[in-house]
């Protein structure tokens, strides 16, 4: 019954739900706090007739204060040792710079080699590796921007939420080394990244950085939906185009009489131009082109925005340590008041 009662009290106080203790053994030290109150026989100067001296209320209070400080010190220290913490806390952060969502193609076609002029040894680099290199330079720059990443093949996966945790985006990029699979569902990937901005007021530049070989066909309905989403979220689109060996350059227009459906990347490029949002395409053929993309993105600005970021746990033990320190200061002061020698 007693246990049940204790459990109810613990549950009502939100134990394990809102707060917790790291260790439990220091609770065994708590009873030490009664020692100053039960022990008798303090250091004293022998006096033949203590009864003869008048009671001194000030001294009695000082004695009580001293005992309280002693108890407080040990109580605070044992509580501090248990390591109390609050769970699921949020800290307010201020974000400057643009909100950049990277949309990375992870489809099987990204395993194919990337077109490159020059020696043959380098020509066989998979597009995925080129994409990773490009993105690493992007992620390493512009530390004010908030960044996130969506990877997509047949379906999109949120790999890194929008935030200022660059290392996490790097780790998510490293995880793409496993290789691609499935189809290129560009629309779903962009859709998920755009969804990430939904329900948030537009406070400044929002950029979608699409890294893909563009081997995808969008039907009319999807095109309209995506166009509406781009307009609503006011996001600009930067496409870092990884050209396949069989792919075309987007810089020159198609020759007369060519069927546009044979070049899905070209069709995609044409469609993106009709989005009514700022759109730029970069062909990742040389480092300069990539750096141009990185530079363009870093010029984007944003109003400082406040956002809440979850933290794992908020440590409360420092407060307890502080309390113990105050008690120690009190004890030192009282020690200074002690008579070290009998002055008659």
């Amino acid at each position: 019954m007693w246990e049940e009662g204790a459990q109810t009290v613990l549950l009502a106080s939100g134990f394990n739900e809102h707060w917790g203790l790291t260790d439990f053994w220091p609770l065994l030290l708590l009873p030490l706090a009664v020692l100053p109150w039960v022990l008798r026989g303090q250091m004293n100067f022998p006096h033949p007739a203590l009864q003869g001296l008048p009671a001194d209320p000030l001294s009695a209070w000082l004695d009580r204060l001293w005992k309280m400080a002693l108890s407080l010190l040990i109580l605070a220290l044992s509580l501090a040792l248990t390591g109390p913490y609050l769970k699921s806390q949020y800290v307010e952060k201020i974000g400057r710079g643009a909100h950049v969502m990277i949309v990375l193609d992870r489809s099987a076609s990204m395993n194919e080699p990337f077109v490159k002029k020059g020696d043959d040894a380098q020509a066989r680099v998979p597009k995925m590796e080129v994409a990773r290199k490009v993105l690493k330079t992007l992620v390493a720059q512009g530390h004010d921007d908030l960044m996130g990443m969506v990877t997509f093949s047949t379906s999109p996966i949120l790999a890194a939420p929008l935030g200022n945790d660059r290392e996490f985006v790097q780790a998510a990029l490293d995880a793409t080394e496993a290789g691609g699979m499935g189809f290129t569902a560009v629309a779903r990937g962009l859709g998920m990244a755009l969804d990430y901005f939904a329900d948030q007021p537009v406070t400044g530049a929002r950029a979608m950085v699409l890294v893909s070989d563009g081997g995808a066909h969008l039907d009319g309905k999807t095109q309209d939906m995506l166009r509406a989403m781009f307009m609503r979220q006011k996001a600009s689109l930067y496409w870092i185009y990884l050209r396949s060996e069989s792919g075309v350059s987007l810089k020159q227009s198609l020759a007369e009489g060519e069927n546009i459906d044979a070049y899905p990347e070209y069709a995609l490029h044409e469609y993106f131009q009709t989005l009514n949002v700022p759109y730029r395409v970069y062909e990742a053929e040389n480092p300069q082109a990539v750096m141009a993309a990185v530079r363009d993105i870093s010029t984007l600005k944003n109003k400082p925005t406040r956002y809440l970021e979850p933290v794992s746990r908020q440590d409360l033990s420092q407060y307890a340590y502080g309390l113990a320190w105050l008690a120690a200061v009190c004890l030192i002061c009282l020690y200074a008041l002690e008579l070290k020698r009998w002055q008659a």
């Binding site: 026989g41 040990i74 996966i157 949120l158 939420p161 780790a171 794992s312 200061v329 030192i332």
Partner: protein
């Protein structure tokens, strides 16, 4: 008369103090030293000292099954039905906040035959926000295919684990649902040695079969999977019976190679925790099979014995200073109360022990 009295009194006091001071001044010095030591230790603590020290941390690769059978709401929390996927996500998020700083966590998702590594191991405290949000965003819609070959997926995760870190452990959340039903003869074997990678195979759901919901765009239940809709390619590969005699006696496995020749398909549209299968997989891989009943359980598994990885990590030194401070406090207290019967008794015992040991 009065003068004489005061003179005598002074003499008495002098004598007593003198007698006291032989041993007393030493006690006094110790008492002072203890108090000062307590104060100094506590003052250092205020500056939050920390140091890189070998520390007990945990490296985990959490893999979540995101196939549709994980949408079955057969968990009850405070009177509400909650899906297996939700509970799996909740447990990972609880575990994230239970892991000590310096631990590293990688995330992965499973459908079809493989596990996609979403993020490589990152430190759990510095990247808590991102980890937490990534887990929260895990959704059955991220599945790139609808099949669920649990053995393939588990072996795939165990293959990936050594590449993610030497001491990494795997925690695989799944209900063990195999869809479509597979021919047991054509299941892969585990390439590694059992126990190469340690960890837990976490069984989700109830052993009682439930219908698998179909969810619409708003995650509302729009129907349930029916038997007719289940893929019927259960018996791929070679027919089990090749003898003409057996076929004449009514068996026609070869000619019905793509039909539901076995009773495997009878309840394939239902999903229950397949403990038998998971237990078998756990035995072949050397993982521990456990059944998740509450989302909080996984944090104690994750920080359990045998799952520890020792690594240099940023260590909080405050407890290491607080313990000596408590010892100093206790000495100060006992020296102050040196006149007490208890303390005298303790001192006698202590010196007795000391004498005996000499």
């Amino acid at each position: 008369m009065r003068l004489r009295f005061s003179e005598a009194w002074r003499a008495v006091v002098k004598g007593l103090v003198g007698g006291w001071s032989g041993q007393g001044s030493r006690l006094y010095a110790w008492r002072k030293a203890c108090l000062i030591a307590t104060f100094v230790l506590l003052t250092i603590i205020l500056f939050r000292p920390h140091l890189m020290l070998p520390n007990r941390v945990y490296d985990w690769y959490f893999v979540v099954d995101i196939t549709q059978s994980m949408n079955v709401p057969d968990y009850q929390v405070a009177g509400k039905s909650i899906s297996r996927l939700q509970i799996a996500k909740q447990s990972i998020r609880k575990t994230l906040s239970a892991l000590p700083c310096g631990s590293r966590v990688a995330l992965g998702m499973f459908t079809e035959r493989n596990v996609v590594n979403v993020v490589e191991p990152v430190e759990v405290c510095a990247h808590f926000a991102a980890l937490d949000q990534t887990v929260a965003s895990m959704d059955w819609r991220m599945a790139w295919a609808a099949d669920s070959f649990i053995a393939h997926g588990l072996y795939n995760a165990l293959e990936q684990a050594p590449e993610l870190g030497k001491q990494i452990r795997v925690m695989f959340f799944t209900d063990g649902q195999q869809a479509p039903p597979a021919n047991p003869k054509y299941m892969p074997g585990y390439a590694g040695k059992p126990g190469d990678v340690q960890g837990y195979l976490v069984g989700m759901g109830k052993p009682v079969a439930s219908k698998i919901p179909k969810l619409d765009e708003k995650n509302a239940v729009s129907g349930y999977w029916e038997q007719e809709e289940v893929q019927r390619f259960g018996n791929f590969g070679m027919a089990e019976t090749l003898s003409v005699l057996a076929m004449e006696q009514g068996q026609h496995d070869r000619n019905a190679g793509h039909g539901p020749g076995t009773d495997l398909l009878n309840n394939a549209h239902l999903s229950a925790l397949d403990e038998q299968n998971l237990q078998r997989l756990a035995n072949t891989t050397g993982l521990n099979y456990v059944r998740l009943e509450q989302s909080a359980q996984s944090s104690s598994w994750a920080t359990g014995l045998g799952m520890t990885a020792w690594r240099w990590a940023d260590t909080d030194l405050r407890p290491w200073l607080a313990v000596p401070a408590i010892v100093c406090w206790l000495l100060y207290l006992l020296l102050t109360f040196s006149g007490s019967r208890w303390v005298k008794w303790l001192a006698r015992r202590w010196s007795g022990i000391r004498l005996r040991s000499h």
